[in-house]
């Protein structure tokens, strides 16, 4: 076969076959390293594969003391560090039959909700960026930074590192209520203005539609599934908080955006309610030296976070956790076919995925 014939045949194949192209593992639009391969006949994406293993870290936690293990656990996903600390400590306390006082529980709820506000603002900001909405993206980014500063003032660290220890919770809730109201003063106005923009809303509606019984977190609630560990897990007691489940039925990126947007005022009200019930720098004397197995389930900003821990004489024998981001990566892959490439960033960001949760624990 001469060259012309071969080229003609290749061109024909290109017309009928799918073209594959890579995105990542490092690229300007990605916050973390991940590799994706898109398959398309031309415009619509027919399939996408995601390889999240590029930045997979290996963590040797087995054989470490609870305190040393906690240092690593809080750095699995730094952005959701409070969720990881509290999930781990709750499982440890269950394993060792430790009763935690109510004001410690309230302090933990407060931290989780502060973290959720920042995480939801982050997802909303990152959904504005690919739409070219620079002003609202910057305004949301400003609110996010103010929330980070508030977290820094409350806990001493902008990511809650070192805030929770066995028997100790380092927080200061002085003037927190006024500060959180001040930080979110403009929030509803920014949201109203965003929702009145048809250009923005159209980019999200019907993009990345999915309804799947495996869904968790904000993605599940955006598809009509009433799944929220704050409502149906006994790891943390939200029964005395002004908590209400946010549900939508559309199942697309817009619904995921709206669930996160509507949960921000809910989290603010929970923080105000919880802060009135707690003291500063909470210390409770407990012995963390026993043995046992414990599990916990808490609602991280991305969804259900399970921990299963086995302790032997105060040493972590084994630790397992289920990452909400790994579930959300699977849902993203399933929701992408049928969308065009320019929809991809909106769909990806709407799930609030953190690749740092892909770790190998030894």
């Amino acid at each position: 076969m001469d060259d012309d014939h071969r080229r003609e045949k290749e061109n024909k194949n290109l017309l009928h076959d799918h073209m594959k192209f890579h995105y990542g593992p490092t690229a300007g639009g990605l916050l973390e390293s991940v590799s994706m391969e898109f398959s398309t006949p031309g415009e619509k994406i027919s399939s996408v594969s995601v390889n999240p293993a590029f930045k997979m870290r290996e963590l040797s936690i087995s054989g470490k003391s609870i305190n040393d293990a906690l240092l690593m656990v809080e750095r699995i996903n730094g952005y959701h560090s409070a969720s990881f600390q509290i999930g781990f400590l709750t499982a440890v306390e269950k394993a060792l039959n430790i009763n935690v006082p109510d004001d410690i529980m309230n302090a933990r709820i407060l931290q989780l909700e502060l973290e959720r506000i920042r995480s939801n603002l982050n997802v909303m900001e990152r959904l504005c960026l690919p739409a070219g909405f620079g002003v609202p993206a910057n305004q949301l980014s400003f609110l996010k930074e103010e929330t980070s500063r508030l977290i820094g003032n409350v806990s001493g660290h902008r990511y809650f590192f070192g805030t929770n220890l066995p028997g100790l919770c380092r927080i200061s809730v002085r003037s927190l209520n006024d500060r959180i109201k001040e930080v979110l003063y403009d929030y509803e106005d920014i949201l109203d203005a965003l929702l009145s923009s048809k250009i923005f809303v159209n980019r999200l509606q019907k993009n990345g539609f999915i309804k799947d019984e495996r869904m968790i977190g904000p993605a599940a609630r955006a598809s009509g599934f009433p799944i929220d560990a704050r409502a149906d897990s006994n790891s943390l007691d939200y029964s005395n908080c002004p908590f209400s489940l946010t549900l939508r039925d559309e199942g697309d990126s817009f619904a995921r955006f709206m669930v996160r947007a509507e949960e921000i005022p809910v989290s603010r009200d929970i923080i105000i309610s919880s802060s009135q019930k707690i003291r500063n720098n909470l210390i409770y004397e407990e012995e963390y030296n026993g043995s046992g197995n414990g599990i916990s389930r808490i609602e991280s900003p991305s969804g259900d976070l399970f921990f299963m821990v086995s302790i032997e004489d105060g040493i972590v024998k084994s630790l397992e956790f289920s990452s909400p981001s790994i579930v959300n990566i699977g849902l993203f892959k399933k929701s992408m076919p049928g969308n065009v490439f320019t929809d991809f960033h909106f769909n990806w960001e709407s799930f609030g995925i953190w690749l740092s949760e892909v770790v190998h624990i030894k």
């Binding site: 930045k55 997979m56 730094g78 002003v135 305004q139 400003f142 930074e145």
Partner: protein, 218 residues
């Protein structure tokens, strides 16, 4: 803010909404930071403590090993000073502008978000001619974050090769410098032009470090 009787809440025009909100950017690094975090910041104290990363040995604190876990309290206390960085090689080549490209070689995500925060309204790194670029081919500086995983070695070396000369390397955060408690560092600190300590380094530390790499004076 109200200008000529018009509040930013009265308009749906994004340009006006942005303008009427006024300037939110701090004057840092020309002025002191308005809200420096307690952790991480320079530690001050004395005595021996049980440090998980050996950042405190024989009474000497090494900022590049420290993960700011607070186990050294109350012997060592944070000072809120944010200048915990080392410029190994200060050059005039990037004085006019600095284009940065970052590679996450295995971070927890907090270094990534603190780096992106320097472009947010409070810090606005663009006013100091510091820009983020989408490809290493347009970059002056490669910012590395996180421990080095096996699979990120090739993308890292490819990014380094793709950069034009002159180029500089920045290690951002304890994981990339020494590995901290999470693994091994990315490069030897001697190979980097700028080392930003912290777990994660605050936006103040990152911004001032990059400005000093450009040749800016305090």
């Amino acid at each position: 803010m109200v200008v000529g009787g018009c509040s930013y809440k009265m308009t749906k025009n994004w340009f006006l909404r942005g303008t009427l909100k006024g300037i939110k950017t701090e004057k840092f690094p020309a002025a002191d930071p308005l809200n420096p975090p307690l952790w991480p910041s320079r530690l001050n104290g004395s005595g021996d403590v049980q440090c998980p990363t050996d950042a405190i040995k024989d009474g000497i604190w090494d900022e590049q090993r420290c993960i700011f876990c607070r186990r050294c309290l109350p012997n060592y206390k944070p000072t809120e000073e944010q200048d915990i960085f080392t410029v190994r090689e200060n050059t005039n080549e990037f004085r006019k502008s600095l284009n940065i490209y970052f590679v996450d070689t295995g971070s927890c995500g907090s270094c990534n978000t603190e780096l992106s925060t320097i472009f947010s309204p409070r810090y606005d790194a663009n006013r100091l001619s510091i820009f983020a670029v989408n490809t290493p081919r347009h970059a002056d500086v490669l910012v590395l974050m996180g421990v080095l995983t096996e699979m990120m070695k090739e993308p890292l070396y490819k990014a380094l090769e793709a950069m034009p000369e002159p180029k500089a390397i920045v290690l951002l955060g304890t994981c990339s410098i020494t590995g901290g408690i999470m693994g091994k560092g990315v490069l030897l600190p001697e190979d980097a032009n700028l080392i930003l300590a912290g777990c994660p380094p605050s936006p103040y530390t990152i911004l001032e470090g990059l400005e000093r790499l450009k040749g800016g004076k305090k």
